[in-house]
Amino acid sequence: MRSRQLVAGLVLAAAFVAVSIQNWAGNDLSLKAIEQLLVFALPLAGIYALAATGLVVVYSTTGVFNFAQGAIGMLAAFVYWQLKVQWGWSTWIAVTVTVFVLAPLFGILLERAVMRHLAGQDLVIQLMVTVGLLLGFVGIAVTIWDPNVGHSVPAFFPEQGFQIAGVVLTWHRFIALCVALALVVGLRFLLYSTRAGIAMRAVVDNRSLAALNGVSAQQVSMFAWALGSSLAALAGVLIANETDMSALGSLTLATLVPAFAAAAVGRMRSLPLTYLGALVLALLQQFASLFLSFGGRWAQVPNRIPEIMLFAVLLMRPAANLRFARLTATRRHARVAKPRSAAAGLVVLVFAIALVGTLLSSANLARLDEGIGLALVALSLVPLTGWAGQVSFAPLAFAGVGAAAFAHWGGTQGHPWALLFGALAAAPVGAVLSLIAGRLQGLYLGLATFAFAYFTGDVILNQPFAFNGQSLTTPRPTWFGISFNSDRAYLVLLSIAFALVAFLLVALRNSAWGRRLVAMRDSEAAAATVGVNLFETKIAVFALSAAIAGLGGGFLAMFYGHTASNAFDALVGLALVLQIVVGGVALVTGAVFAGVFRLPIQILQDHWDSKWIRGLQQIAPGFAALGIIQSPDGAVVAIADGFAPLIPGRTSERAERAKRTRERRAAARAREAKIPQLGLTEPFTAETIGEIERRLGIASELAAGRR
């Protein structure tokens, strides 16, 4: 294992040297220049370190990877602006109130409303809820603080500082660095030497065991989120003056992936290593800015250095031991459709869509077209995430690859086989991604796909062999003598394509291979011990997923008529993934939901455009996040369940099941609540835990890397 890391490290270092030589800008690499480089990197490293600290602490104290961590910081920055700039409070009071009063309260509110329901849930659910929160918080910020008005936050002691190596380091940045360093020391003490800290870590490791030791999981959870929120606010307040104070601008996005990358270096556990990661990343970026020259087709590469580094760090991670089944709280209620009933349902769906298409105005028709196209792309996540349980943020990136291949290989002339080429081009990309990142467990695989999506959208799709920075012509086809130029006709074509792929997927789910995917998700370890080659299976499902997405990309391209790389942007892809999880990622109907659910809101906006409706649309993802918790199977199942009483014979089974689950959960809660009353008053130390663990025979599972 270690040798593999060493080889990977050497390869990466060699690649770095090669790229540097190739793209050398010609400036002298003198000692002074290197010293200055370090001074340039320090403040940037401080920013990343502050952002990453909250992420790591939240993960190790709650077990949740919080995509919305930076967004909480963003809200804090705006609140700080409101207090200090708008209402004229003194800096100290504004900072203190924001970080030590409002932020913890926000964290507790968040915990009570959302986060406590995330404990023990599937990784997909956890991640997508936090993604929904990220988008929801952005929506709240733009609704309250008008983006067209400047919100500039002044630095502490603006433009003043002291010199190091001939470069002035401002007092504000110095303070930020000192705070970051203080955090490392303080948090280490908190998490390892205080009862509260150990309790937090214990709850993450083993909830019921911690409860046995008199720890109230609920209280600990609230404290952990209050702490995490404060850390986010601290970062936000210290960073605010360096950013454009735009809700979805540098304040949220400039620290998103860098925080991931730094945290990945720290293995989501070690703050010192996280800071090292932050420093390395900052050095890389400033180095590239000063000494390297990325022009022409490579001009976007320096903007994506955080993604490259994240990918590299994840690659160097040692392979974790196989995951055992988690006793997740996520219960899947949805029944698996059989091919015959699915076929009938899909035929009805095609007719229904076609019918709706004849009733819609041309504007809404175009939106529905786009929606079904996106639904086709969303279908790609059903086998990958819904069945095999592999988190992926890359469907739209694969669609972009497919669209580019489609355009170059016959798409501009409207040849039907160009669609096939699109799918065939995307499949190997998916396979390679899985090959490289497939050893990584859930969270890290997801992060790898996230980095991949950004890098593909910005760098790969702008290459000459892809979109080359321009719009490619991808006209509607004329097949079998039928012209699909009109939106109405194209809608029918799209829905037929969707139905065919959906049917194929249902058939797959009912096949041996489909069962194997679900087995892999339910228990990797058990699947391996019955002979399933996980590596191959993962590559296959990634390739299939990418192929479907690539096909969808070709269809989307034909819908647009003129396609550019900006149609496959990583953030839009993120929203699409959220939408399908909301709809129900294990179901093909969930994909339909994902594609079209924005349509009602857009229609609403057409008729009643007001600040309220707009605000609603922006905050909607946050509600979606709450919806996922209520109904992890997805909205489609929830809606179907809601209609079930109308269908005779169906009700009792579902209602019975739900009742059983509720009873089971209530019994478990009652048991847990009784535990502190058992009179356990032993002093609580790490040794005590170890002893109990050994005696109860849980040591092996813990050490075997359940995370």
């Binding site: 196989l322 679900v518 370890a525 996980l534 005696r695 092996s700």
Partner: protein, 243 residues
């Protein structure tokens, strides 16, 4: 005739030595018992044998073939199957589908005609859970789920079967039936390694028993020998001598 041999296997987790120089073997046609207090390292040994855990020292061989480089799925194909102490059934799948997954994998390396569905049904019948075939595993009580795991393991068509506390959650009659099944499987040529806390079951089904405590084999022998071993009594059975 197949022989699984565990030689000088040690497993270290940071400062904790979970398994310390374990030495034993399992042969076709026998039921070998592995008993010991909780935390003695039994499940860790299972993980080592099936490839889910790399040992810090020692080796595992199947018919003198070192399994060191073999990934878990490879070992399954070589003929090692297991059940798990903490339930690892495929929760979202039905009981029949659980067994089918294993049977379908087995089909891929079968040399003769092989109908996974028929095989699965046969195994379900043998284990006695045909009535549960269409139930989803996550809804089953633990006892039944353990039987599902057993059925699934059998569908791998193993030569060596590792069972981790299979009787947990079963009542007296079911335990007796299980015991009979294990003896029958051994008679059919399977080598069974049984980790159990149910002493009557162990004593009646096992041909040979190894006793583990704190990762080390502290005693071994026939059921009678082990029962009367003083060390075993002290470490595991306490002062109670009831069997």
């Amino acid at each position: 005739m197949s022989r699984l041999a565990v030689s000088d296997v040690s497993v270290r987790f940071g400062g904790l030595l979970a398994v310390d120089g374990a030495n034993f073997s399992v042969e076709s046609g026998s039921v070998i018992g592995l008993i010991g207090p909780n935390g003695a390292g039994k499940t860790t040994l299972f993980n080592v044998i099936t490839g889910l855990q790399t040992p810090s020292a020692g080796s595992v061989t199947l018919d003198d073939r070192d399994l060191r480089r073999a990934k878990p799925y490879k070992r399954a194909r070589l003929g090692i199957a297991r059940t798990f102490q903490r339930l690892e059934a495929f929760g979202s799948l039905t009981v029949r589908e659980n067994v089918l997954v294993a049977a379908e994998m087995r089909k891929r390396w079968a040399t003769t005609r092989y109908d996974a569905g028929i095989v699965a049904d046969k195994i379900l019948a043998r284990v006695g859970i045909t009535a549960l075939a269409e139930a989803r595993c996550e809804q089953l009580p633990t006892g039944s789920a353990r039987l599902v795991e057993l059925a699934r393991a059998l569908a791998v068509d193993p030569r060596i079967l590792l069972l981790d506390e299979p009787s947990s959650g079963l009542d007296e009659d079911e335990t007796d039936a299980l015991g009979a099944l294990l003896v029958a499987l051994a008679r059919d040529g399977l080598g069974v390694l049984l980790v159990e806390h149910d002493m009557p079951l162990v004593m009646t089904t096992c041909d040979y028993i190894h006793v583990l405590d704190f990762g080390r084999v502290i005693a071994q022998g026939t059921p009678t020998q082990v029962q009367t071993d003083a060390e075993v009594q002290r470490a595991y059975l306490g002062s109670k001598a009831t069997m």
